[in-house]
């Protein structure tokens, strides 16, 4: 049962509430007024279903304001707002139906139009249900929040795709003529607006879509940029694209950009300010897209250099804006590995590309950090190639026939610069860039040849290779014109220094001296022989298969040698019979054959003048110190000239009278090609080194046999017994490792021993 206290309490509460609602009016008039106001306001605000969408009932503003004031005065506006939002909540399924309808339409036929319709209808719902301005700003924001939360919650995932389509479509709504009909009818624009999608954007803003889908809108924009940059710039390297792309941006993208970002701009400056942020993001994206593209293409760009110079300038500018340096290095290294540094590529090609890389990366990054990083694997690879030095040396002396020399003719010839210390007193000194590694040496722009030569640690190898090349070229010269070689040597002297090229100088002098000596001897006693007399110590070893010239040739040689002995008593001639060529007149019974042939051919035909028939082994035995294939080759020369005939395998007969059928057919085509020009056989550096390593191996084998097992440094010490041992311990280690792979030695804990079988 209610106690009197409780009754009192309830009564008091009731009194207070009544007082609040009645607002100290007479009787209950206050209460009545309040009830009337509440009902009227609720009725006015009641969210209507589809039927009521088009028009809101007319209302008397003053009357309504009065109603709100009564509610506010009773301190019940919060309750009223809750009530209102509840009513909205009850009506929300009506929107859901509409959204579903348009989404189904879109899914059936994915065009942006349906999405635009959906947005339009959603906006109408929102407007229809929006609270009256008289209710205050808080009511409006509470409503917007409720409405939009609901809206977003019912949008299916496919809406995102559709919305993207719609945004994408707006790019093309550049003018009213270009705009589709549905846009103009659904979202009519007020007069004087530059773009037809103005209203659409305004409505999207109202629905909060721009804010919510900003990333998506930007990503659509990015896609546009990427698409355009790729389309316009791919494989276009002969003009600078970056500026073109920026122009395109301000022409095509910026007007569009004003729609989502600067619709309300009062002036151009205001618009610029509003778009500053997003504009710089997009500019960055342009640079990044272009940099990405060029990074992918870099290898081909370098191949195209110097035609691709503008692309490289673009790259340089992009890299200043975008941090893509490491990607560029990686991409180029990868491309080099895949396309350049493999056995299929010619060494000359690799060198050419390397030189192009040097030139190109100097444009992109004048300080050379990128180059240093990219060049490293190439240099290491080139170091392992056997013919690298020869290629470089060939380009040093400017191989006439190869055409494009690695060296730019216009580049001044400089001495090969040794590593320089940094000159900190230089007012233009700059610190090393951030991404320079610890091994980075700021190599001052040195000429290409110096860079190539610095692939190797020492110049010695170059000079050796140079000697061999020079030997080949000098011995191949027949007209006595050494000017070209002399010029080369002089140029090289500037690079390598006088001392290194002394040997070459001697070689050159040998050539001229030979001519003088020959002139002198010819005066004493005319001879058909004009030898080149070379100093054995200064020339690279020539392949030593000197055979003995038979018959009259021998006689000529001996006569000449004795004259020479008179002229230079302290010197002795050693004949290299296999070098040179001989002008022969072969007189046969019915014809005379006049040819210039290598010495071996001459030797053979001399032997045939003694005896008509020879077998190959007999011939080989007669001249000695030649291989069978050489002999066959020499004989074939004569067979082709129609002088000899192979009667049975290995047996050749002199054709004293020409054989009509055979020789006629053969001589017609082949006669002039009798003499095969070949470079004089000089023992290459590799062959010399291989020979040396064979000797060193014998010593290693000897010491390991007798001393058991040895650590590497002991082997290195003991190898001083081997003649001319000049390897360092790293080279030895590499050599031992190679021997281990061959299964000749084993190593445990750094101690080497022979693999016993």
């Amino acid at each position: 049962m209610a106690t009197p206290a409780l009754c009192n309490q309830v009564a008091e509460k009731w009194q207070r509430s009544f007082a609040k609602l009645n607002r100290e009016k007479e009787g209950i008039t206050g209460l009545l007024e309040f009830t009337q106001g509440w009902l009227m306001a609720s009725d006015q605000l009641r969210p209507r279903d589809k039927a009521g969408l088009a028009t809101k009932p007319q209302y008397d503003k003053a009357k309504l304001r009065e109603c709100f004031e009564i509610i506010r005065a009773c301190n019940l506006h919060a309750v009223f707002l809750d009530d209102y939002l509840d009513a909205i909540g009850r009506q929300l399924p009506a929107i859901t139906n509409d959204i579903d309808f348009y989404m189904k339409m879109y899914e059936r036929e994915p065009t942006a139009e349906h999405i635009a319709n959906l947005i339009s209808i959603a906006a109408r719902w929102q407007r229809a249900w929006a609270p009256l301005p008289e209710m205050g700003a808080s009511a409006l924001s509470a409503f917007t929040c409720t409405f939009q939360t609901h809206l977003y919650s019912i949008l299916p995932p496919s809406f995102t795709t559709g919305f993207r389509d719609l945004i994408s479509a707006t790019f093309d709504f550049t003018s009213f003529e270009a705009a589709p009909q549905w846009l103009l009818t659904r979202f009519p624009c007020p007069h004087g607006i530059p773009r037809p999608d103005f209203t659409l954007w305004t409505i999207m803003q109202e629905l909060g879509l721009i804010e919510r889908y900003e990333t998506l809108i930007l990503s659509v924009c990015y896609e546009r940029i990427e698409g355009h940059v790729l389309e316009a710039s791919e494989k276009v390297w002969d003009r600078q694209m970056l500026q073109e792309m920026r122009d395109w941006m301000s022409r095509e993208v910026v007007p569009w950009l004003t729609m989502p970002y600067a619709r309300d701009a009062r002036s151009a400056e205001h618009a610029t300010m509003l778009m500053k942020n997003v504009g710089s993001r997009l500019d960055y994206h342009v640079c990044k897209t272009l940099a990405d593209l060029r990074t992918r293409e870099i290898f081909d760009i370098i191949i195209d250099y110097p035609d691709s110079r503008p692309a490289l300038d673009d790259m340089k500018e992009c890299l200043q804006r975008v941090d893509q340096r490491s990607q560029l290095v990686q991409s180029l290294r990868k491309a080099n590995r895949r396309r350049l540094l493999h056995p299929g590529a010619d060494t000359k090609l690799i060198l050419t590309q390397y030189v192009s890389i040097i030139r190109c990366l100097r444009i992109v990054d004048p300080q050379g950090v990128l180059l240093f990083k990219v060049a490293d694997p190439i240099r290491r690879y080139l170091r392992d190639r056997p013919d690298t030095i020869r290629c470089i040396v060939a380009s040093l002396v400017g191989d006439g026939e190869s055409g494009d020399s690695l060296v730019d003719e216009n580049e001044p010839i400089q001495p090969i610069n040794q590593t320089q210390l940094e000159d900190y007193t230089d007012p233009n000194w700059e610190p090393e860039p951030m991404d320079a590694g610890p091994e980075f040496r700021a190599n001052k722009p040195s000429d290409i040849i110096s860079t190539l030569i610095s692939i190797y640690d020492s110049q010695e190898l170059f000079v050796k290779e140079l000697q061999i090349l020079l030997a080949q070229r000098l011995l191949a010269i027949t007209d006595g014109n050494f000017d070209r070689e002399r010029r080369n040597i002089e140029i090289l002297k500037i690079r390598f220094g006088e001392a290194a090229l002394q040997v070459c100088e001697v070689m050159l002098r040998d050539m001229t001296d030979s001519r003088r000596t020959d002139q002198h001897i010819q005066q004493q006693k005319a001879s058909d022989l004009h030898p080149t007399i070379i100093s054995r110590h200064f020339w690279p070893p020539l392949q030593a298969n000197t055979f003995v010239m038979p018959g009259q040739f021998r006689k000529i040689q001996e006569d000449y040698a004795s004259e020479f002995h008179v002229f230079k008593p302290d010197k002795k001639l050693l004949w290299m019979s296999h070098l040179g060529s001989i002008n022969l007149q072969v007189e046969l019974d019915d014809r005379t054959v006049e040819v210039e042939v290598p010495p071996l051919e001459a030797a053979f035909i001399e032997l045939f003048s003694e005896q008509d028939e020879w077998s190959v082994p007999e011939l080989v035995e007669k001249v000695g110190s030649i291989e069978r294939p050489q002999a066959i080759k020499a004989l074939v020369t004569w067979v082709e000239l129609g002088v000899l005939k192979e009667d049975s395998p290995d047996h050749y007969r002199l054709l004293k009278t020409a054989e009509e059928s055979g020789s006629a057919a053969k001589s017609s085509g082949k006669q002039p090609t009798a003499v095969v020009e070949e470079l004089p056989p000089v023992v290459t550096v590799q062959q010399q080194q291989a020979e040396q390593m064979r000797v060193f191996w014998k010593f290693i084998e000897g010491m390991l046999t007798n001393l058991g097992q040895l650590p590497l440094d002991r082997i290195q010490q003991m190898l001083k017994f081997a003649p001319n041992y000049d390897r360092n311990i790293d080279q030895l280690a590499a050599f031992m490792e190679a021997a281990r792979r061959e299964g000749l030695v084993t190593v445990t804990n750094g101690v080497w021993k022979l693999q016993r079988d």
Binding site: E701, G702, N706, L707, G708, Q717, M718, F721, A722, K753
Partner: protein
Amino acid sequence: MEQISPLAAARGSSKPTASGTSSEAAGSVTKRLSQELMNLMMTSPPGISAFPKSDANLFEWAGTIEGAAGTIYSGLTFKISITFPPNYPYVAPTIKFDTPCYHPNVDIAGGAICLDILQDKWTAVYSAQTVLLSLQSLLGEPNNASPLNPDAANLWDKPDEYKTQLMKHYRPISDDA
């Protein structure tokens, strides 16, 4: 004191002359030894080999001799030490077996060898290589007339017993040498 001093003086006076001649000769001896080493390495005759024991001294070599195929020593490997005198090649090198070698002409305990070309028949035309070859052939064809090891000489005609004795003394080469 008085007794010692002349001796010391004699030693002192003899030393410079000795070293003087040897250093003069050492150059040519070293050259000769290097040449012999080079020849030996490059020809590398089967079964024999030798190499200086250290890089500091070219006069002390270690050698290896394998018993020739078809002889009782076939398949066995012997280590030897070769010491070249300062006046080499006018005086024969001193050679001894490091691996115990049961052989009529080899001292089983000390490794000393009784071979005519290493003693009175030595001439300067011989070289390390010829000596090693002679030793290899000595293994298969002992001179039983002047044995250092009479037991071995007596057993030579009984190959089975000989082989037993040989293997009893033989120790294979280990890598720790």
